[in-house]
């Protein structure tokens, strides 16, 4: 169990895998089996491939926009991997890797970005909440659900994924404070990828770390190398055990980096240089795990090739599925607004139905 010096001293950060950028940084032991490590590797390769697919689909005009998680695969895959099936995830818009690890078919995650529906998977089935675009607002839902589960006596942790920028919102503060006051089993997993669109971390906070927030609210905070899959998994497993055991919330600051632009609608060239990005490419989480596993002889060329082949075929299948997916009857927009029927909406639905009919007839006529 890491000591609290890791919270306030930015130099202090839990690492398990050698970091080329910090060769003499002390390494902590990790708790993963060989199978688990290989599993993480395969998942990360898979995600990177799927993320690349999404990027190309967007370029081809198939998706309206895409927020890549390139470079954050370790933070997302390893933390998600540590979760128990009954745990609940509250994602922002960037946690596609987490969604995939939770078992959501990638096509269902893409669907929203194709504009099919506002969300297109069963949140209860995967215990993965509808992703939340209003920054930090979902952290409160995680706290509330954790308070509820604790009240019900259920063994469950709610994990709220947020970015570094999200920590500036009032809702982030309120979510952490409520969790601390009620001792709710929540893990606030903050992917500190150094940027909030074009705003760098130092304009977001004057504090050297984000993990320190927890201590000030009376709960545990920890900093981990977010590009180190083994460390992320270990620290997350610790945090989940802590929360599960009734000791209250934990904040994890996973230090990583957003390699791509914020989204495909963004252009990072306007606010940062490749010179800043380059060193982080060196720290690529997949190569890092690859080196470690290859060094240990665990990762053979066969395994590596297998991982890539699997990822490629999954991507190919996903591509066909998303291209085939189309929006349903537009009148569905009236179906889910209220549990019961509303006269005003029924009138509007009828208007749309009539318009559709008239449109079709005008087609048949021509």
């Amino acid at each position: 169990m890491p000591d609290d010096s890791t919270v306030t001293d930015p130099a202090q950060m839990i690492r398990c895998l050698p970091d080329p950028a910090a060769p003499d940084a002390p390494l902590s032991p990790h708790s993963l089996s060989d199978d688990q490590l290989l599993d993480l590797y395969r998942r990360m390769v898979e995600i990177r491939r799927l993320d690349a697919l999404a990027m190309s689909l967007q370029r081809q005009g198939q998706l309206g926009v895409w927020a890549s998680c390139l470079g954050q695969e370790a933070a997302q895959v390893a933390s998600a991997h540590a979760l128990a099936p009954q745990d609940w995830v509250f994602p922002s818009y960037r946690e596609t890797a987490v969604g995939v690890v939770r078992g959501i078919p990638f096509v269902d995650l893409l669907s929203q970005y194709k504009g099919i529906w506002l969300g297109d998977y069963d949140p209860h089935k995967y215990r993965f909440a509808m992703n939340s675009i209003p920054i930090a607002t979902h952290a409160l839902h995680a706290t509330g659900l954790a308070m509820a589960a604790r009240r019900a006596g259920d063994d469950l942790v709610a994990v709220a994924y947020m970015g570094d920028g999200a920590t500036s919102e009032g809702d982030a503060h309120e979510a952490m404070n409520f969790a601390a006051v009620y001792g709710a089993p929540v893990v606030f997993f903050i992917q500190n990828n150094q940027w909030a669109i074009s705003v760098p971390l130092h304009r977001q906070t004057a504090s050297p770390t984000l993990a320190a927030r927890a201590g000030a609210l009376g709960f545990r905070g920890i900093r981990v190398d977010g590009n180190d899959a083994a460390a992320v998994h270990t620290v997350t497993a610790d945090a989940l055990a802590h929360a599960r055991g009734g000791s209250g919330p934990v904040l994890i600051e996973a230090v990583t980096y957003r390699i791509e632009s914020h989204t495909t609608a963004d252009d990072q060239a306007r606010y940062r240089t490749e010179a800043e990005v380059a060193p982080w490419r060196e720290r690529d989480p997949i190569s890092r795990l690859d080196r470690y596993l290859s060094g240990g002889g665990l990762l053979t060329d066969d395994v590596r090739d297998g991982a890539h082949q699997h990822a490629d075929s999954l991507a190919a299948a996903t591509r066909d599925e998303i291209l085939a997916r189309s929006p349903g009857d537009p009148t569905e927009m009236f179906d889910h607004v209220y549990a019961d029927e509303r006269a005003l909406l029924e009138e509007q639905r009828q208007m749309l139905v009539a318009e559709q009919r008239a449109f079709e007839e005008s087609w048949e006529d021509s």
Binding site: G144, E174, A339
Partner: protein, 323 residues
Amino acid sequence: MSGFTMVEALNRALADELEDDPQVLVFGQDIAALGGVFRVTAGLTERFGDRVFDTPLAESGIVGTAVGMAMYGYRPVVEMQFDAFSYPAFDQIVSHVAKMRNRSRGLISLPLVIRIPYGGGIGSVEHHSESPETYYAHTAGLTVVTPGSPADAYSLLRSSIRSDDPIVFLEPKRRYWQKQEGTLPVTTPDIGTAVVRRPGSTATLICYGPTVDLCLETAQAGTEEGWDLEVVDLRSLNPLDIGTLVASVEKTGRAIVVHEAGSFLGMGAEIAGQLSERAFYSLRAPVLRVTGFDVPYPAARLESFFLPGVDRILDAVARSLAY
């Protein structure tokens, strides 16, 4: 008991729902030990323990955590201490409470009730007398309910807690201590139904929450002018029971909407818009509005000049009859 106040009715409604459904939770600021600044939740924590609890001082936190609890199957009933203090929770209410069911294609419903004491007339300081109904009634996905009598306060709050839709429940704080004959429990028409509180033929007074008694009083005063005014209590602002309003106007040909909120984009605007469309040939005069002025709610010693009163409503009736 013979006779009960609105506060007693609300308290009893909460108690009965807490009793009937173990999933119901009640929380907010100062609602446990204190029993709420208006005593609406008095005695509930003594009786139901930690299902009735105080929260830190953060409205977005209250509503946001209620969303998470509702996702888990609880039925939270949260209190915003005063009308203006629901504004810090506005983003949670509009971006999540109102939209979660739709976003999730119906897979997540949020059976939660947001109780808000609203309106003026109690000589309070700033931010304690707001009428925020337009903000919520305009928001697709929300249902906005407001009782005008103790009986409705009881019955509508129970229906609201049992509804699978999120409900903004607006309590006319200046009617909290108003007493009504009879005994609890009572059942009144369900959410979405307006009720004719006083049948009449001269013109229709349309009101809700704090202005219901005012309009009944006005109708009484109107008899001296030889007027027989009909009074319709909306009871729910969204959905709006336009059918009942149209039926009334087809009879009277005239309508005056009375509320404390400002006129500009107040409920009177929507009602005037719908009536002028749905009762075009029946209206012998335009739908008139007697409302709070379009200024910030004034200091206590000026509120009587700001609030709609009997004379102002009677003047409007006269103007309507002049068409």
